[in-house]
Symmetry: C2
């Protein structure tokens, strides 16, 4: 058995059965091994940032890591923006980067690059297997790291000769390291803080944004008179009927400062402190009040849900009774009319969303927070672009659909961001995924227009030429069709609702260009 085959078998033995790939020459032995070993679903992306974004979306829905297959340093670079987002989402990925044969590297042939340096910037661990015999074990260790709590990016740099040589060994399962235990003092401090004077906020991060975590937080908050919110970039959270309200800290700095000003105490549960996305002249980086007490109940590596259980118990609550709110009957929500607005889109979505849908939200400025959908629509999962690298939406939606096994995916997608990774549509068509994209075509980098106004008052002609996307207009529906996805261009909410119904009923990719 050659190295490549031992790698494929070891991935499978350790539960990794999905591979998102854009292979090159140095990965051909891996591809050949896939023909000899059954059981790996291989999904091709036309660009590496589609590949890595798909792996991120896949993890967020399935809760388990996929492998990626990238080609040398430039392939890794191409996929690194969505690896950055995946790192912030705490998504586990076994990130395999093929590289030159060991003996060939010193010749500095054209594709040679500093792969370990590039990998280090986006990975929790980087390993270059030293020989074919240990490759399987190195792969098993990479899976264990990726599966850890929280998920991590474990990069395996695979020299071609390690892959093609004989002597590969299929590795046994490598067990994950348990998370660090919760500090009883941190729990007691949290109890005193929430039980004491002042208004308190419980802020939940990625891995605690579940029905159970939110339910525990609400029970504690009810007892202590506190509020519950989510990090502004929480990777995924449940929404719709049968969920507690779960507002995110607003993205705009001023709005976030205003919301957080109410709180004397902020309890962080697997959540970074609330900081601005960017720094601005004369504005603080830390957005809660300067005199607020910020206490970390559990950090990201720990089991935040267990920490919440311990805190609930410390408050004398019966954990067994913490059920999620009842999923009430489907509500009649009126379909909106006329010109599109974020509020009307929210309303249409709330009315039409099928059960157990997955919403991937890269709507950027065309969002009202989708409060109606999140409160009153059918139960769903809501996914957010976590790391600020635009172009996550369509790949994450594609990977989520692969993991969803038939669940409807809805991608609320800003146009400027969509232009980064539009190749994802081709994979949606190829894999026939039930993914409806709502492309919010405002023909500009609207968020930058706002940022510019913060900086320089009225944009002049050069600035406008950097912010406008209407010269020429991108004909998005045509573009989607050219990549194999059925598409429609709509300008009213009546058409939009009709298109949403059509997309949701189709069981396949559908693309709605909404002129806003």
């Amino acid at each position: 058995m050659n190295g490549a085959e031992s790698l494929v078998r070891s991935l499978l033995a350790n539960g990794v059965d999905t591979c998102f790939a854009n292979p090159g020459t140095s990965e051909m032995h891996f591809v050949a091994a896939l023909d000899r070993v059954d059981g790996v679903r291989c999904v091709l992306g036309l660009h590496e940032n589609v590949v890595t974004g798909m792996a991120d979306g896949y993890y967020r829905i399935s809760g388990k890591p996929a492998a990626t297959l990238l080609h040398c340093g430039p392939g890794l670079s191409n996929g690194s923006a969505n690896l950055h987002n995946a790192r912030r989402a705490e998504s586990g990925i076994v990130n395999i980067v093929g590289d030159h044969a060991t003996g060939h590297r010193p010749y500095d042939s054209p594709l040679t690059a500093d792969v370990p340096a590039l990998a280090g910037a986006v990975s929790a661990s980087v390993c270059t297997p030293a020989n074919t015999e240990t490759l399987g074990a190195d792969a098993a260790r990479a899976v264990a790291i990726a599966r850890q709590h929280p998920g991590r990016i474990a990069t395996l740099i695979l020299p071609a000769d390690i892959s093609w040589s004989e002597g590969g060994v299929e590795a046994a399962t490598h067990s994950a390291t348990p998370p660090p235990v919760i500090d009883p003092l941190a729990v007691e401090t949290a109890r005193q803080l929430l039980g004491g004077d002042g208004r308190s906020l419980i802020l939940l991060g990625n891995s605690t944004a579940t029905h159970e975590g939110i339910g525990l937080a609400y029970a504690i908050a009810g007892r202590a008179g506190a509020d519950v919110m989510a990090s502004s970039t929480v990777a995924s959270h449940p929404g719709g009927r049968g969920t507690h309200p779960f507002p995110r800290v607003p993205y705009p700095v001023d709005a976030a400062i205003e919301v957080l000003a109410a709180y004397d105490n902020v309890l962080l549960v697997n959540c970074p402190p609330p900081v601005g996305f960017f720094g601005y002249p004369g504005k603080p980086s830390l957005l809660c009040r300067p005199d607020a007490v910020v206490h970390t109940l559990s950090r990201r590596e720990q089991d935040g849900t267990e920490a919440l259980r311990l805190l609930a118990t410390a408050f004398g609550l019966d954990i067994g009774e913490m059920n999620r709110p009842a999923i009430g009957p489907r509500q009649e929500i009126e379909l909106p009319h006329g010109e599109p607005t974020p509020e009307k889109l929210d309303q249409a979505l709330a009315a039409l969303l099928p059960d157990r849908a997955i919403i991937v939200d890269e709507s950027i400025t065309y969002s009202n927070g989708f409060t109606t959908t999140r409160a009153a629509a059918a139960p769903h999962d809501w996914l957010v672009i976590t790391g600020g690298a635009i172009g996550g939406g369509m790949p994450v939606a594609t990977g989520a659909a692969i993991a969803g096994g038939g669940r409807q995916v809805v991608n609320l997608q800003a146009d400027g961001s969509a232009a980064y990774t539009l190749q994802a549509l081709w994979t949606q068509a190829r894999e026939n995924l039930p993914c409806t994209t709502v492309l919010l075509n405002n023909r500009r980098y609207n968020i930058l227009l706002g940022e510019y106004r913060n900086v320089g008052a009225v944009p002049g002609p050069t600035a406008m030429s950097m912010l406008d996307l209407d010269n020429p207009d991108i004909r998005w529906a045509d573009l989607a069709r050219s990549l194999g996805v059925e598409a429609v261009c709509v300008a009213t909410m009546e058409e939009c609702a009709q298109a949403l119904s059509r997309g949701f009923g189709s069981g396949k990719p559908y693309f709605i260009e909404l002129l806003v």
Copy 2:
């Protein structure tokens, strides 16, 4: 004057008047400064790899660096594959990467990344200005590094506060460091080697692949009985009537070994040793004969043309007499008929190419070397993708057209590679560039099919699904139109020739999907 304005003024004072950009929030002060300072042409790309590829193409035609403007770590990652190609092409670029304000960085907000590590992998120099006062001088130094011989990538990491603070100073011109002198012993050794026994090859790299360098090499070769060739990945070289034959070392390893087997001596002039693009089991990395004598006349940092002058003089040649071959009259080349082949495409191109065209060649497997065009077409420049990172073609063509000031650009473009950076078409439309793309649609990663056969005999269904691009077919002409470029889809050489004529006559972007 704030930092951003001092940066713009210092770039202009040092001769950088073109900026390829995909700005984000942290770059808004730079964008605002562009509205206050006249003289910088700003070109927007929808993706950073388009931005960096344009800067590469711009340098190769203009011989001077442009600035790029990228947004934080992920923006730099997105543009790094074409920075890799630019590094191999020895293109000078002032690569400006906006980053968080100094005081904001420690908060590890979502977009925070290890920018210096990412930049180090693709740059000759990385500088983070320490304060607003020195920013202008740091920029001037970056321009000097980018302008050096050969061109280099000088990355300037620009914290937002350094940009927005007052106290900027416009820097005076910073002069470039002269290249290291030529070693007389290296010249004498070369003379003895070429003057001695055995068959010799003079191999020219990037900066010597000019009319003057090739003319000198031919004069020396004539005297010494040697041959002249180009590196397989030479960035740019002259072609057409009035040029010496200038074959590149073949890309396929076996072909390269066969061609190079004839030579006992290989003289490298600003050229890396001829090594395989990849290593393969049982095949050498160094492709000249193991017993061949390889001598470096001049390395890339040196002035290789001066080295050739010294060597010519050592051979007793009169440098003043070394003219390029006469540009003979335009030849009548018959237009091809019927089904497309690489040979017929070469013929059509040779027949129709306008004077002083720029050809950007990412044709990959759909190439016969374009020997007829390179020998008999109107004089032109031929640009090659240098670093093996696919997706260079369309951005390099776009940047070359910006630099070309009306010269016709022809982009011979493989489909798999085109899918990486198709957003470049939008910039071509926006800037109304005379760029004709010939998209060679074979609906597969054809080069990988060959590489796979080298590895695993007949591809099975999984492998084929990783190599085929026909599920679904990309409708390339439709896609180009959706991005604002006039396009046609053709299947015969008659139609192709007609489309080439139409494109060349149009003075604007034109896209030909050739079904091959």
